[in-house]
């Protein structure tokens, strides 16, 4: 009897306690990128009492502008690691207290210690998801899957090659092909020469995932650069394609969850970040197509045939990835000029 009263009081206390602490947190992210999954938010509200409201951005520049112009409006923001140092330097985001994020212990050291997420000497972005920019091939055209990026320059595939129409991606792709560090390109002339050699091979440039799928389905392409998340969706939809991470390596990107300095609901924000890197959330999200998780336990919890486990879960693959670092405006302009010059010469 006593026990039951005690239990009832505890339940009553915890419920009121949760109600008292309940906050509404505002999350800034790309639309449809995980944090705004309805089932995840309602489960989070049920468990913690905090409610979640979303706002979206369409480019990194827009995200930074929103943080600058609306102090106090956001509690959690998604920032690509290449932009975290800039946000930190401008004082837009504050450190994430990893002791308040229980799942942080399952984030492997190489991601947790990422220099960009640890801008300013402290963790400013909780590693959340990552992915690759590499290439995929049409499996009908290859008896044996290529293992080298040189397949793009193989004249057997002349006029059946595509890369994305993006200066930074093109230059970094050529940096990998010429054995350079994508974040510290020393020989830009070699990259220009390599890309100039690639141009006659190219049938067309692609712009969006949808473009890519159409060109592949029509048989226009044998081999084309592609993003790992998009490749998993294309393969799932039945296109005869295979994602390849060549021996030379691949471009990696890493997204982190950060907390703006101006947030007044830091506790709820930490709770939400913990919720988002939880294996349970990730496994369910991955069913509908998600990038790779930064949480090792979450990645391990995927079914064995899942793309993110089969391809990106291989430590040998991860070792070949070069993660994108911030790019200076000056370099961005140089790359753009190089790429436009090459395109204009066609």
């Amino acid at each position: 009897m006593n026990k039951r009263i005690l239990l009832a009081t505890t339940v009553a206390l915890t419920t009121t306690g949760a109600a008292v602490l309940a906050d509404e947190i505002r999350v800034l992210n790309w639309q449809g990128y995980g944090t705004d999954e309805d089932w995840a938010i309602s489960a989070f509200t049920e468990a913690t009492g905090h409610t979640v409201v979303h706002e979206y951005f369409n480019s990194e520049q827009e995200m930074l502008t929103k943080l600058r112009t609306n102090p106090g409006a956001y509690d959690v923001v998604l920032i690509n690691a290449a932009f975290t140092p800039q946000a930190q330097a401008e004082g837009l985001i504050g450190p994430v207290d990893s002791s308040m994020v229980a799942n942080f212990s399952d984030v492997p050291e190489n991601l947790a210690a990422n220099p960009d997420l640890n801008a300013g000497g402290a963790l400013h972005g909780m590693p959340w998801t990552w992915g690759l920019t590499s290439f995929a091939v049409n499996t009908n055209e290859f008896n044996e899957m290529p293992t080298s990026i040189e397949v793009f320059w193989d004249t057997a595939h002349e006029g059946k090659v595509s890369i994305r129409d993006d200066a930074l991606e093109a230059v970094q792709f050529a940096a990998i092909a010429t054995g350079q560090d994508i974040n510290d390109i020393l020989d830009l002339d070699a990259i220009e020469a390599k890309l100039a050699e690639l141009m006659p091979q190219i049938k067309t440039y692609w712009g969006s995932e949808n473009d890519w799928n159409q060109f592949m389905a029509a048989g226009d392409l044998d081999v084309a650069t592609f993003w790992s998340g998009s490749a998993s969706r294309s393969m799932a939809s039945g296109l005869p394609v295979q994602f390849i991470v060549p021996d030379e390596g691949a471009i990696g990107w890493l997204d982190g969850l950060s907390i703006p300095t101006s947030s007044t609901k830091k506790e709820a924000a930490h709770a939400f970040i913990n919720w988002m890197i939880d294996p349970e959330f990730y496994v369910k999200w991955a069913e509908s197509g998600a990038p790779a998780s930064a949480n090792a336990k979450a990645a391990a919890a995927l079914p064995d045939d899942a793309f993110n486990k089969r391809v990106l879960g291989d430590p040998a693959v991860v070792a070949r990835v070069q993660f994108q670092r911030p790019v200076s405006d000056e370099n961005r302009e140089r790359y753009l000029e190089l790429w436009q010059g090459l395109k204009a010469a066609q």
């Binding site: 480019s59 502008t65 129409d165 993006d166 029509a218 000029e337 436009q340 010469a345």
Partner: protein
């Protein structure tokens, strides 16, 4: 009395003309001046980004040969498409105006205008389906011809020209048709009665009289084709980089609106110079 009348007249003129001028101001003058203003800034003045006035965007055009190469490529494309459109469109207009009468003319006219009623992007994607290897054109030809042909025009300059000619052909047909219809048939009969053969009639009577319409159509085609970006991008693939696509990139991909605006005004200036240089010749042709 006369001052009252004058005032009433002025009122009438103002009230009748104001819709047109308001429309011109809102739809053309304001956006153009905003773009002109942008073209002299160092950065887009959104948020609290820092910016100052500069002419660097115009200097950028001359710093590399890229832009000049592409502009020349675009002008050549404009000329090609205009010449082909005139060669195809003028005979069409002549047949419509002089050879066909009654109901069938209306039906044919409808067919000419019909593409105008569909979205231009849809038209270009339709061409992509037709021109691609193993596409509608290749399958159709192979079904008819006794031998196998391999037609893959997709992602090439001919594909761009075909798509653009199809998009802009109705302009030259419509303007030429109006000019040709206004020619009195008696003039042609008179020429014939004086022993002129068909070629002479075309060269000495019909062509000079319909030239204003023909030239109006040609200008209507040349100007937008020089700045076109959507057709080259979709149909051109690797060779589809033109001055228009570079401007589009500045606005859509790189978010360098000031440079995009400056390049647009350079294009506008070059087109105006071309038209101004050609105008004495055009005027002589019309008289």
């Amino acid at each position: 009395m006369s001052t009252v009348l004058a005032r009433q007249n002025r009122l009438k003129i103002v009230s009748l003309l104001s819709p047109a001028y308001i429309w011109l101001t809102v739809a053309i003058f304001l956006p153009l001046s905003a773009m002109l203003y942008f073209s002299f800034l160092s950065d887009v003045p959104f948020g609290d980004a820092e910016w100052h006035y500069t002419s660097e965007n115009y200097q950028a055009f001359f710093q590399t040969s890229t832009y000049a190469t592409l502009l020349w490529k675009s002008i050549k494309l404009g000329l090609t498409v205009t010449v082909i459109s005139v060669l195809v469109g003028f005979p069409c207009a002549y047949v419509l105006a002089k050879a066909i009468k009654g109901k069938s003319r209306e039906a044919l006219f409808l067919l000419v205008i019909l593409p105008f009623w569909s979205n231009s992007l849809v038209r270009i994607f339709c061409w992509a389906i037709v021109l691609r290897g193993n596409g509608v054109l290749e399958l159709g030809l192979n079904a008819i011809l006794p031998f196998e042909v391999d037609v893959n025009l997709m992602f090439s300059t001919p594909a761009i020209v075909i798509g653009l000619v199809h998009s802009y052909l109705p302009y030259v047909i419509l303007t030429s048709y109006l000019a040709l219809q206004a020619i009195d048939d008696n003039l042609i009969d008179a020429a014939r009665s004086m022993g002129a053969n068909k070629l002479t009639i075309l060269w000495r009577v019909i062509l000079p009289l319909s030239l204003p319409g023909l030239l109006a159509g040609a200008v209507l085609i040349f100007v937008p084709v020089v700045g076109s970006f959507m057709e080259p991008r979709i149909l051109g693939g690797r060779v589809g980089t033109y001055f228009g696509t570079v401007i589009e990139d500045q606005f859509v991909a790189v978010f360098n609106w000031p440079l995009g605006a400056a390049l647009s005004f350079i294009l506008l200036a070059v087109v105006l110079v071309i038209l101004a240089t050609a105008s004495p010749a055009l005027r002589r042709a019309q008289t």
